[in-house]
Structure formats: C-alpha cells, structure tokens
C-alpha cells in the first residue's frame, strides 16, 4: 500500500527550512508553563515543536511550520506561556508546494 506511514521526523525531513541559527522566534515563559494543567502545545503542534525536557517546556523552533496553532491553543487552553512571532525575514519554513 502506499505512502508508507512516515514518522513525523521523516515528514519534517521532506520540508525545506532556512534555519535561523542565531535566534528562536518562539519564546516560552516557564513560570506560566509550570502551572499549566493541560499543556495543549504538546498535542496541537503539527511539528511537535514543543517537548518537555527535564521538567521544562522547550521549543524546537527549527521544526516550526509557522501555522500559528500553538499561540491560539496556548492563549485559549493553556497558561499563555508561548510567544510566537514570525521568524526574521527570509528564515524559517519555505514551502515548495504549499
């Protein structure tokens, strides 16, 4: 059968990114994340950018598809710890099909 099921990492590996090595476009306020019960960011991000490492929510911003979902989920169902801004001009995801 087709399109054998790819892992998320495989899928993200197909996409083209211009990674900003100098700065992340996502800021995470740990103090807010610590008191967040639901942590919707861990589920809703289509690129699983948000992961918990050593008890802290970290953002693997280089995988970001720039869909805007995390900010909405965090403000609405989370504790408002995420601040997502567009990457600097020319950086980030560059869709070839879109």
């Amino acid at each position: 059968m087709s399109a054998r099921t790819l892992t998320l990492d495989d899928l993200l590996g197909l996409d083209r990114y211009e990674i900003d090595e100098e700065q992340s476009h996502i800021q995470v306020d740990q103090s807010r994340c610590q008191r967040c019960q639901l942590q919707p960011c861990l589920t809703v991000c289509p690129a699983a950018v948000y992961v918990v490492t050593e008890g802290e929510v970290t953002a693997r911003y280089e995988n970001c598809l720039e869909c805007g979902t995390c900010q909405i989920a965090c403000d609405s169902g989370g504790a408002g710890g995420i601040t997502w801004r567009p990457p600097r001009g020319g950086f980030g995801i560059a869709f070839r099909y879109g």
Binding site: M1, S2, A3, T5, L6, L8, L11, L12, L14, D15, E18, L38, P40, T43, V44, C45, P46, A47, A48, L65, E66, C67, G68, T69, Q71, I72, A73, D75, S76, G77, W84, R85, P86, P87, R88, G89, G90, G92, I93, A94, F95, R96, Y97, G98
Partner: protein, 431 residues
C-alpha cells in the same frame, strides 16, 4: 524617510489583490512579504473558486499556474470499514472558467504578486514587518528589519497569524481555540496519467475534490483530497480545542484518515513530497474581525474572513473580495485626502455589498453543525451500515430501509436526537 501612498503587509491573495488594484489606479504601493518568495509561507487545501478571481483578474485561467480544473466534487462519509460517496460531476467540457481549480500556493501566489508588480507595485520579499508605527493613535507606517517606512494607509494582509494589530494595541478580540482549526496536509506525488485515470478524468486538465467526514480520530473535523497535476493534496482540518482534548497529534489524525481503505486506495503508490500545516479560522459572519481604523485596513484571513459551509471551505476568494472592497474604499479616501477610520468605513459597506458577504449571511446557521460531534462520529458510520444492510444478501432476512436504519441507530443515537440533528442540517444547508 521613505514614504509611499500605501504599504501592504503580506503578498498572499488579499495583499496581492489590494496592491494590484491600488497600483493600477496610480498609487505608489510597496508590498512587504516575509517569505523569500511570495507563497513560500502559505498553505491552503487548495481550491480556488473562479468567480471572484475572474472579476478582478479577467481570464486568469489563461496565464495563472493552476493545477487541474475541478469538474467533480464529492462528499464522502467514512465509517470504520465503509464509505458512502455522493459524487457530483459537471461533465460539460466546453465552459471556461470552471467553477474551481486546484492550486499549490507556492506556485500560485507568485503569479498573483506578479500581477501587482506588473501594475506598478514594488515587491519586497524576505522582510518581516516587526511592528506598525503610530502617531496620535493613527497608523502611519511600519518597521521592518530596523527600517521605518511611512505611508498614507497600511493594508494589513498578514493572514491568520496576524499579530501586528494586537501588538499595536489596536485589536483586543482574541482568538478562541474553538473558532480555529488546525489543517495538516501531505502533498503526495503520483504520475499525471495515474491521477487522471484513477479519478476518472478525461485528461490532465481535469480533476476532482473530495470532502470527507468521519475517520479523523473521533475529533470534530474533516478530511479532504484534491487532485493536482502530478500530486494529490491530502489533509485533515480539525478544531484546535478538540485536538488538544483528544491528545491526538495532528499528524496522527492525518495518518488515521489516510489509512482508511477508501483513502489509502486513492493514494496508493504515491510518495509524500511535502508536509505542511496552517491554522484556519472558521470564519462566519458573526466572527468577522475588525476591518479598518485610522490609517489602516485589514483584509483576508487577517480579518478572519473565511466561509465554511461544510461543502466548501473558502478563503482565497473571500480574501480577494475583501481586498477589492478595501481598495475601492482606499481610492475613495484618496480622493478626499483623508485616511481616517471615518473615511475608510466605506470598506465595510463595500464588502457587505459583495456576494461573498451575502453567502456568509446565507450560511450563518451552518456553524452549529461544525460543533455537532454526532456528525463526525455517528452518522458516517450509520450511513455505511444502513446501505450495507440494504445491499447485502446475508444469512438473515433482508430489511427495508427504515427498519435497517432503526436497528443500526440502536445504542448510537435516539430517533429524537436524529430528528433534531436533521433539523439542524436542514437549517444550515437546505432551507
């Protein structure tokens, strides 16, 4: 300091349309786009409905990079191992433009931006607008990459992710997770002739679009499959709050949808070439955002202008219609030499006169349907079960339709509930 007549933030359909119309009328326009090329940040399904486009860009189908003309629309209900497919085809080969075309945004958006450039607008790709500049509560320009640019009017066309107005303190209405969906999509490559044959098209210019309900992990949402030239766009759209409550990640929901035997047969042999995602406001006349203020207008999905009537999800043509309405108001404001919110109020009146707005009003009662979870996990299964009963000659005596329906409903939905839901569907889509 550089001063333009108009600054457009974002070179998607809304921004490109506004820039095209303003430049064509002789205004000095600059379009600032954060992608290195227009479209490189943009994701849609994507179906482009022709009517509004053809009013602004006559004969666009002759030069725009379109994938296939959509000659067939299907609504498909997916049960666990069943599918019920309502397949509409317009088999009149002669007429152009077709109702809709499939497009890929990274290829299509550059064409739109080119129309604006050809009309005289200046395009500045690869720059992120960092903030709106204000003087005495009036928007007077933008800052991008450390440089300030001034203008009489700023057109905010930065899409669903729009954050500039909020940061400038000009927008207070927040998004709610229940009003926004997450769309995820695979673009799957298949040879052109395989697609043509598999979807029963006459040639590589014809294509079809499936809207699917069911088999999305029990999450309120739907799936879609559109044919492009030599790729398929296959995705799911699910409400953000339903996704985080389900604890199912979006790509897992997409995988479940693609694993349904109805879908897996249609994509068999294909190779995924890109994975993308986009937050999609559900739109609707009651959720339209702020459209204008002193020195600025907001167009397209930045103003939450979308139209979802279950059958079709329209964003691009709605964006074009709003941008045209805004451009008309800006040109009138230029005549008066006044870009205050009073002068720009014509935008709202112009937009309310469009068919797009009238469609939004017509389908205002469709929105409760998108909240009705039985639509996503009871009825698709039920449709398959009832038809299965009617077609199957089995060991048990056959039943007529209504008896089969009553038996299959048992334990899933009461008759009373179903009548209520039918009424809701009727109100939303039929009468």
């Amino acid at each position: 300091m550089e001063k333009f007549d108009a600054i457009v933030v974002g070179a998607g359909p809304a921004g490109a349309t506004a820039a095209y119309l303003l430049a064509k009328a002789g205004m000095q326009v600059i379009v600032i786009e954060r992608g290195e090329t227009p479209g490189s940040k943009n994701v849609s399904g994507a179906l482009l409905f022709s009517q509004v486009y053809s009013e602004i860009f006559p004969k666009f189908w002759e030069s725009a990079p379109l994938e296939r003309a959509i000659v067939g629309h299907a609504i498909t209900f997916l049960g666990e191992q069943t599918s019920v497919n309502l397949d509409y085809r317009d088999l009149d080969e002669g007429h152009v433009p077709h109702n809709a075309y499939s497009v890929l945004r990274a290829r299509f958006d550059p064409w739109m931006a080119q129309q604006a450039e050809d009309a005289g607008a200046m395009l500045m790709p690869g720059f992120t607008v960092d903030k709106l500049l204000q003087e005495n509560g009036r928007v007077v320009g933008i800052e991008a990459g450390g440089d300030a640019l001034m203008a009489d009017v700023v057109v905010v066309a930065e899409g669903t992710r729009s954050g500039l107005l909020k940061e400038a303190g000009l927008r207070t209405d927040e998004y709610h997770a229940s009003d926004v969906s997450i769309g995820v999509k695979d673009v799957i490559a298949l040879p052109e002739d395989v697609i043509t044959n598999r979807f029963q098209c006459l040639n590589a210019d014809e294509g079809v679009a499936y809207t699917c309900v069911g088999h999305t992990g029990g999450v309120e949402g739907g799936g879609f499959l559109y044919t492009n030239k030599d790729t398929l766009s296959v995705g799911v759209v699910a409400k953000i709050d339903a996704v985080y409550k389900s604890k199912l990640q979006p790509h897992a929901i997409l995988n479940e949808f693609k694993a349904h035997p109805f879908i897996s047969r249609l994509i068999a042999g294909g190779e995924i070439v890109e994975y993308s995602a986009q937050a999609i406001h559900r739109g609707g006349v009651h959720l339209i955002g702020q459209l204008y203020g002193d020195g600025y207008v907001v167009v397209g999905s930045a103003a939450r202008l979308l139209l979802n009537n279950v059958m079709t999800l329209r964003g691009m043509d709605v964006a074009v219609a709003s941008a045209a309405a805004a451009a008309k108001a800006i040109l009138a404001a230029r005549e008066m030499g006044d870009y205050s919110h009073t002068a720009l109020a014509g935008y709202e009146q112009n937009f309310k006169a469009t068919n797009v707005y009238k469609d939004m009003v017509t389908f205002k009662d469709t929105y409760p349907l998108l909240e009705n979870e039985r639509l996503f996990h009871v009825y698709p299964e039920l449709a398959g079960a009832v038809l299965g009963d009617m077609f199957t000659v089995g060991a048990k005596p056959s039943k007529k339709g209504l008896k089969a329906l009553r038996d299959d409903m048992r334990g899933k939905v009461s008759l009373w509930q179903m009548l209520m839901d039918m009424n809701q569907i009727g109100k939303g889509l039929v009468r």
